[in-house]
Symmetry: C2
Subunit: 271 residues, 2 copies
């Protein structure tokens, strides 16, 4: 998907919500466990219920790999379902891959060519030749970890390089390897001041923002410190939406939550 198309979707819906598809089987509604593929059934219901309120979906590969071949099968079916029914939604494989060049290329082909995802999340620790293979595909995106929303972000990302935080140095370096048309960054919602610092050096890139809600980040702070003229944000919520209910009406509960979030976003996104 091209950047202009993504921006168009955001402006049209007045939403930059991305729904994280992390279907932990222990948390699925009990009645689905009788289905042949509970994960797939769950995902399809969540996707149908929330599609009007969001501009993207983000399955995290861990929640599929955990169940082996059947889990990977559920992931592939989910991706096909989204592509077939919601081709205008931005589809992110949250895989956090990254390896030496020829190996990263294998991952890139898997997620971009085989699965036809629009984007994949990528870890930056191995440097330019590990990230570049993800930047060689037309209208496909690498979303590189910048500053994550977890407690552990202080251990490496927030180390100080002569007073400059490492994550900022990493993001500025990575930014040179691609463009604002094929590169985004993961920036957690939990640190408002840091979001502001990032925007001051990277005003144009899209940011994929986890950590609103369950992890304590505030939607208001994210928009105030992170939005740019194109909005420039994809705000991801997973558990708060997909596990809003766990009865037979779980999809309706998810739709309600997604609608609430979309409503809160409309204050900041103008068509």
């Amino acid at each position: 998907m091209q950047r202009a198309e993504l921006i168009h979707q955001i402006k049209t819906k007045r939403s930059c919500l991305c729904v994280g598809l992390d279907p932990d089987v222990d948390k699925l509604p009990k009645h689905l466990l009788e289905e042949e593929d509970p994960i797939y059934e769950f995902n399809c219901a969540i996707i149908d219920a929330t599609a009007d309120h969001c501009v993207g979906f983000k399955p995290n590969t861990a929640f599929y790999e955990a169940y082996g071949l059947s889990g990977i099968n559920s992931l592939e079916k989910t991706i096909k379902y989204i592509k077939a029914n919601y081709p205008d939604h931005f589809l992110i494989a949250d895989a956090k891959r990254g390896d030496i060049g020829n190996t990263s290329s294998m991952y890139a082909k898997a997620f971009f060519n085989r699965l036809n995802c629009d984007a994949i999340t990528v870890a930056p620790y191995m440097g330019e030749d590990s990230v570049k293979p993800f930047l060689q595909f037309d209208n496909k995106w690498a979303i590189v970890l910048g500053l994550t929303s977890n407690e552990g972000s202080k251990d490496v990302q927030q180390l100080s390089l002569n007073g400059k935080p490492l994550y900022l140095e990493v993001m500025q370096r990575v930014a040179k390897w691609g463009t604002t048309e094929n590169l985004m960054f993961v920036v957690g919602a939990t640190k408002a001041q840091m979001l502001r610092d990032i925007r001051s050096v990277l005003p144009d890139h899209f940011l994929l923002v986890p950590g609103v809600g369950a992890q304590g980040g505030s939607l208001e702070e994210v928009f105030e410190n992170g939005a740019n003229k194109d909005t420039g944000l994809l705000i991801n919520l997973s558990r708060q939406i997909i596990f809003a209910g766990n009865g037979e009406d779980f999809a309706e509960r998810a739709a309600e939550q997604a609608l609430i979030i979309k409503g809160q976003m409309q204050k900041y996104i103008h068509g």
Copy 2:
């Protein structure tokens, strides 16, 4: 596998060779492509041919994910084959995973419980809570990226923190999260002086060393700068061994290469 057991294997065989199972289909012997599962057939032949000369096998998940469900199936079958036939070999899933805590836990369960691997490679950028879930399993190992063998290692890993290279700071921090019984580091063979620096601060940890051969690292330098009293090294070679030949005798060619490497190692490893 326990550390003592791994050391025993190394001393008994006088080899610390790990064979990387990266079966790029474009490079497989042509006659195998007629088989139902060429990757699996290739791997089994390589495993049988090299098992006497090595102490470990390391499939890189990228080379299986690239082929979707059938590739993942080949990976699972390969792992089962190793576990059934060579239970004393150290089995590393080279997956370079790492995510927020509950998500890393899903990966850990997938690779340790479902697939029964002995170790998984892990990226450190997301910090302690992303690595710790891999350290909660008896006799299982996290092998964390320290200093990789690729050109891109200079982009992030070799940044300077007041004169101290980042990779050294990262490795010292990570070392506090586990023990020498459940934590190893990836350290590329291509930088002898850096290997010496690492050993001076982390004398006891096992190091998984890629980059000998195809990437230009020297076996002699790795032993001279990286070995400790327990050897403390797993030296991985992939392409140089598995693609030593590509005719019908590919497995014999691989065995020859593995035997040559083992022979070179015996100068440094005493039973």
